[in-house]
C-alpha cells in the first residue's frame, strides 16, 4: 500500500509574540515546525504500513529549509520525502495544484493523508481541494481508520453527527488531532533518517505561471480591551467585590 502524507511547515504559535502597541503578530524569527495534525496523519500512515506493508512518502510545499522538518518525519517512520520549493505569494489554490501535480509525478498511491487543517491558519482547504483536483473521493475529519485490502472505513466527527464512511482506493483522508498520539522518534531512528532520500522539485517544473487567486493584503491585530481587575487578597472579600462588580455590570441575571 502506497501512502502519501502531505505535511506543512508552520510557525510555532506557542513561540509567537504579539506587538503590544499594534497588537499585530510578530512572525519574523519565530521558529518553524511541522503542523501538529500532519504528524497525526503520518502516525496513521505508519500504523497502516505496519499492517499492510508499502511505502510512505512525505510531500511538502515550502521553503528550502523545510528539509529539516521533513527529516523529523522520516525519523518517525516515513520512507522518503519530496520537497517542492514554493513560489512567493502562494495561496491555497496554488498549493493544491502543486500538491496534485507532485502526487501525479510520484505516480502510485492508494491513500493520501492530510491533517484536517494546519494549526497556523486553520482553513482545512488543502485536503478537499487536492481530492477535487485528482478527482478521487475524500473522507474528512477521521477519528479512526480501518484499512482492508479493498476498502478503508473511517469514523468521522461531522459536528452534529458521527458518520461512518467507506471508500475504495485511491482515496484522500483528512484526520483529526484525536485519531492517535504521534510517536517520538528514537535516537537510532533520528540517525537512520539521515540516509533516507529527500527529493527537491521546483514548483515551475510541476506547473508554471501559477498566480494567487486570493492575496492577504494585510494582517491586522486583534484588539482585546478588557478591564483586567483582578482580586487576589482575602477570598471572602474578593468574592464579595466580584459580585458587586457583576451586579453593577448588570450581568448577574434575575
Amino acid at each position: 500500500m502506497n501512502i502519501i502524507v502531505c505535511a506543512k511547515q508552520v510557525v510555532d504559535l506557542s513561540e509567537m509574540k504579539v506587538d503590544s502597541a499594534t497588537k499585530k503578530p510578530i512572525l519574523q524569527g519565530v521558529p518553524r515546525k511541522i503542523s501538529d495534525i500532519d504528524k497525526n496523519a503520518l502516525e496513521e500512515a505508519i500504523k497502516i504500513k505496519d499492517k499492510n506493508d508499502g511505502k510512505i512518502t512525505i510531500l511538502t510545499i515550502g521553503p528550502a529549509d523545510a528539509k529539516e522538518q521533513i527529516k523529523e518525519l522520516l525519523a518517525m517512520g516515513a520512507d522518503e520525502g519530496v520537497l517542492v520549493t514554493s513560489p512567493d505569494n502562494i495561496d491555497y489554490h496554488m498549493t493544491a495544484i502543486l500538491l496534485a501535480e507532485a502526487i501525479k509525478k510520484i505516480g502510485s498511491y492508494d491513500v493520501i493523508l492530510c491533517g484536517e487543517a494546519s494549526v497556523d491558519l486553520f482553513s482545512g482547504q488543502i485536503g478537499p481541494r487536492v481530492a477535487g483536483l485528482l478527482n478521487i473521493p475524500q473522507i474528512t475529519y477521521a477519528l479512526s481508520l480501518t484499512v482492508e485490502n479493498d476498502k478503508v472505513t473511517a469514523q468521522r466527527n461531522m459536528g452534529k453527527n458521527a458518520i461512518t464512511t467507506e471508500s475504495t482506493y485511491p482515496v484522500l483522508i483528512t484526520v483529526t488531532k484525536e485519531i492517535n498520539e504521534p510517536r517520538l522518534p528514537s535516537l537510532m531512528q533520528i540517525l537512520g533518517a539521515a540516509n533516507k532520500p529527500i527529493q527537491e522539485w521546483t514548483s515551475d517544473s510541476l506547473q508554471s505561471d501559477l498566480k494567487p487567486l486570493v492575496e492577504t493584503v494585510e494582517l491586522k491585530g486583534v484588539p482585546m480591551e478588557r478591564k483586567n481587575i483582578i482580586y487576589k487578597d482575602d477570598l471572602d472579600e474578593s468574592v464579595n467585590k466580584l459580585i458587586e462588580s457583576l451586579e453593577k455590570e448588570g450581568v448577574l441575571g434575575g
Binding site: 504559535l13 509567537m16 504579539v18 491555497y92 489554490h93 493544491a96 491558519l121 482553513s123 482545512g124 482547504q125 488543502i126 485536503g127 478537499p128 481541494r129 487536492v130 481530492a131 477535487g132 483536483l133 473521493p137 475524500q138 474528512t140 475529519y141 466527527n157 461531522m158 452534529k160 458521527a162 461512518t164 464512511t165 475504495t168 494567487p212 487567486l213 486570493v214 492575496e215 492577504t216 493584503v217 494585510e218 494582517l219 491586522k220 491585530g221 486583534v222 482585546m224 478588557r226 478591564k227 483586567n228 481587575i229 483582578i230 482580586y231 487576589k232 477570598l235 474578593s238 468574592v239 464579595n240 466580584l242 459580585i243 462588580s245 457583576l246 455590570e249 450581568v251 448577574l252 441575571g253
Partner: protein
Amino acid sequence: MKLPMVLVYSDNKNISLEMIGKAVELAKKQQKKVIIPIIGKSDENLANEYISYGADQVFMVETNLVSFKAEEYVDILADIVKETGVGTILIGSNKNGKELSARLAGKLNAGCVVDSNNIYVKNGKLIAERIVYSGNAIAVEQFNSKPAIITIPSKAFDPLKKDENRKGEIIQKQIEVNKSPSTIVNVQEMKTEGVNVEDAEIIVSCGRGFKNKEDIKIIEELADVIKGKTIGCSRPIAADLKWLSEDHWIGLSGHKVKPKLYIAAGISGQIQHIAGMRDSSIIVAINKDPEALIFKSADYGIVGDLYEVIPKLTEAIKSKKG
C-alpha cells in the same frame, strides 16, 4: 435578464437565512440577484421562506442522493455556477460546508476564504476577513478572480426582516451527478447532552484546573444560582478527557460563543480557547496561578483555588438572591 450575482448554499436553514441577508447587501450594490439551491427533497415551503427573506431565485434540485457527500454536491453546485455565471458563492461554514467549498474551489480553480465574518467590496475587489494564528490576527484576504468562494459561520450576519410579499422565482432543476465510489455506512447523532452554548446568555466554563469529573458539579451548582445555567469547557475536558460532551466545548475547534457573562474556572487561557469566547461581553476568570494567561483576557478575576472560590461564590450569590 441580468445574471444572478451571489449564490448562497447551506444545508442549515438558519445559516442560509443569515447568508441571504449578507448576499442581498453585496448584490444590491451591483444590481445583481441572489440565488439559492435546495438540494435533495423538493421543499416549496422552504423555497418561499428563502424568497421572503431576500432570495431572488430558488433552484430546486431534486436528487435521489441519500446522504451528503461533498464529491456529489460539488457536481451540482459547479453545474449551477457554470450555467449562471455566478461571481460570488457564500457557503455555510459547518463541516459539510467547509469540505464542500474547498473541493468546489479545487474543481472550479477558484479562490476560497473560510470562516469569514466580515465581507465587503473595496476598490472594486471583494474582501473577506478571517481570524488566523489561533485568534491572534485578522487576515484581510482580497480576491483577484471570480468565482470567489467564502464560507460563513453561524451568527456572523443577521437575516433580513421577513417579507411575505417579496417576489421570487422557483426553478426546477435536473442535474446529473457522478456517483462517488465512497459509501456512507452509518449516520449516528454525536453523543450530546442537548446543550446549546452558542445561544447561552451566561456560561460557566471549566478547564484542566478540575481534578476529577465529579468535581464539575460545583460548576453546575454555581450555574444553577445564576440565570443561564449553561456549562462550557475547554478542549481537554471535551476532547481528551471526555468528561463533557463536545457540545460544551468552547474554542477555536469547538463552539464560538458570545454570552453577556462568561466565567472561566480553572482554564489557563490558551489562545485557542480565547478564540472561542473573546466576543463575550464580560469575562470573569478564576485561577490559582496569578500568571495564568486567562487574566489578560478577563474583565474581572479572582486569584485562588477554584475548589474554595466557586462554592463561596455560589453561596454568596444564593444568599444575595434570597
